[in-house]
């Protein structure tokens, strides 16, 4: 009887760890799916960047050759004895128009090029080790990407402090900046301002991203970092952005904090250490990039 009772006790005691294991397996599986998705996305972006950079290089080069050629033709016409004739005057006005169009083409290409440079930062493969990074460069690249979404509606203000190179996983931090900046833009209805402020605080750096949007109601504040929690319509939000962001910041041994006033706006504070400590022996493997 005593043995039966002991077996029954063991059976009931075994159930919770088994459930926990299943949860753990599910969590790791989800993490792996996420990691492979990110790797595939990184590879795809690298290919897109390559495919775009080649024709952009050609167009920009041709544009310059075209402008120089127009200048050369203009000089020849100006030096001609018939320069004042109506035909050549008309040719000069066409050259002027073409020069204007070529200038517009150049600006358009440089804009594409600048967005692609931003994408390139995201496509860089993570070599598994944190590396010294200029956070301002990373934030500026991310801002170039979101500026396509903000367009004329949202003004971006930056207040960059004096930051040292920060040891981090730059492409992961970019993902956090992107998530928070996209959320900031979506929180603003109509026109508004997004401000990015950076400061060094001892051995930490603080990146604060503020918006003048509708703010977060107090009853939702506790849930915003939960996986799957979203207030956005279907197809806009997945409820994963801030949850993943917190995981990334945890991995950097940092903090992500939020303060918000309903109707006045929200500020996310991202704090990361300037240096990453070597991982604990017991936690080996947990520090691998996701």
């Amino acid at each position: 009887m005593e043995a039966e009772s002991e077996a029954a006790t063991m059976a009931t005691e075994k159930t919770p760890p088994c459930e926990l294991d299943r949860e753990e397996v599910e969590r790791i599986r989800a993490k792996l799916v996420d990691a492979s998705r990110m790797a595939a996305l990184g590879g795809l972006m690298a290919s897109i960047v390559h495919e775009i950079n080649t024709p952009i290089g050609s167009i920009l080069s041709n544009n310059e050759v075209m402008l120089r050629s127009l200048n050369a033709i203009e000089q020849k016409i100006a030096a001609s004895p018939d320069a004042d004739s109506p035909g050549l005057q008309k040719a000069l006005s066409i050259i002027e128009m073409m020069r204007g169009l070529a200038s517009v083409d150049k600006i358009a290409c440089e804009r594409i090029s600048s967005v692609v440079r931003g994408l390139k930062t995201f496509s860089r493969a993570d070599d598994g080790q944190p590396r010294e990074t200029d956070l301002h460069e990373q934030i500026s690249d991310t801002l170039k990407l979101v500026s396509c979404q903000y367009r004329q509606r949202i003004r971006v203000e930056t207040d960059f402090g004096d930051l040292p190179p920060v040891e981090c996983y730059p492409q992961l931090l970019n993902q956090v900046f992107l998530n928070v900046l996209v959320n900031a833009g979506q929180a603003i209805e109509g026109e508004g301002v997004v401000t990015v402020r950076t400061r060094r605080e001892g051995e930490m750096v603080r990146v604060s991203i503020s918006d003048t949007g509708h703010g977060i109601p107090p009853d939702r504040m506790a849930k915003i970092f939960q996986t799957g929690f979203t207030t956005k319509p279907v197809g806009v939000g997945t409820g994963l952005g801030l949850s993943i962001s917190r995981q990334i910041i945890d991995k950097h041994r940092g903090r992500i904090e939020v303060e918000s006033a309903e109707g006045a706006g929200t500020t996310f504070h991202i704090l990361v250490p300037v240096r990453q400590q070597p991982p604990d022996r017991g936690a080996a493997g947990e520090g691998e990039p996701t």
Binding site: A46, V49, H50, N53, T54, S58, S61, N62, R124
Partner: protein, 155 residues
């Protein structure tokens, strides 16, 4: 002697653009190749003052091509012009083929021209140095011969 630029890229548009730019700005002779194997064949018979190659190409990548160029014409400076810029390929290129410059697409024409001019200058200096060394070796050999003859005459 007019300097010769070898340009290798599987994208015809890149070849056309750079050739047009160089023909407007310089008097260099520009030999373009969409097929890296053809570039290797030409390097066997014709001297290049600089070779500029794309990285991602069918048949042979840019580093493999520049490695072949290094074997065939070691004094010709090698430039990699790539839209697929990553740290690994840059390090590999610098270590394996003693790269002269690593440029990224989209390229800046002014920067490209400066790199080409510097490369040609280096190639000329390298060849001048080689000629001077040969001349010195020849002079040295003549002196030895004279010395031998003098020794024979007096002793």
């Amino acid at each position: 002697m007019t300097p010769t630029v070898f340009l290798v890229d599987d994208e015809e548009m890149v070849l056309t653009s750079i050739r047009a730019f160089l023909s407007l700005e310089t008097d260099y002779r520009v030999a373009t190749f969409a097929d890296p194997e053809q570039a290797v064949d030409r390097l066997r018979t014709e001297r290049a003052d600089v070779i500029i190659s794309d990285y991602l190409m069918p048949k042979m990548n840019g580093i493999q091509l520049l490695a072949r160029a290094k074997e065939l014409q070691p004094e010709t400076p090698r430039v990699l012009l790539t839209g697929h810029a990553d740290k690994q390929s840059a390090i590999q290129a610098i270590n394996e083929v003693a790269l002269f410059q690593y440029l990224e697409k989209p390229w800046d024409n002014a920067q490209l021209l400066l790199v080409i001019q510097a490369a040609i200058e280096r190639a000329n200096l390298y060849r001048d140095l080689r000629d001077k060394i040969n001349e010195l070796a020849m002079a040295n050999s003549n002196l030895r011969e004279i010395q031998t003859r003098l020794l024979k005459a007096f002793f």
